[in-house]
Symmetry: C2
Subunit: 90 residues, 2 copies
């Protein structure tokens, strides 16, 4: 992939991320990778499904990867958190 | 797949599901599909990652699918909920 086109999922409303994906596909290229960690993983799946079912019916899911990332918490301890990357293509 | 070997993720502690996966792989066959809906999707990813990182390092992720299911809620209305299926192989 030449230019990585990524939407990170946090705690904003789902629609914000749907719009980010649609805008990104219009302006930056044919694929977008949606990334999330921890509890936001469920939201990432919602975002991709809503974008596909309501806005871009031609959207295809190219790849889904899950993994574990090491994060340093505020008290300096390292904790593991699950992650997901969903790559979609218009 | 001849016999479908499925672990459904709900609100029990993560370790319960890890044990279910390990037992299933010992007794029923080489692959298990881990399924979850809605908020439990994040837990499903945690369960697979913990099983792989702590108990079965050889576990490979064969396939990940996401989708939308229609559920009837208690008031009779239909609502959409996101789902995930993660197939792992020992």
């Amino acid at each position: 992939m030449s230019e990585e086109n990524i939407v990170y999922i946090g705690s904003k409303p789902i629609m914000n991320y749907c719009i980010a994906i649609i805008t990104s596909l219009q302006e930056k290229g044919d694929t977008v990778t949606v990334k999330a960690r921890g509890r936001s993983i469920s939201t990432a799946v919602d975002v991709v499904e809503v974008t596909k079912n309501r806005f871009l019916n031609d959207l295809t899911i190219e790849d889904i990867e899950i993994g574990t990332e090491q994060l340093e918490s505020t008290d300096g301890r390292i904790r593991s958190v699950s992650s997901i990357s969903i790559t979609v293509k218009k």
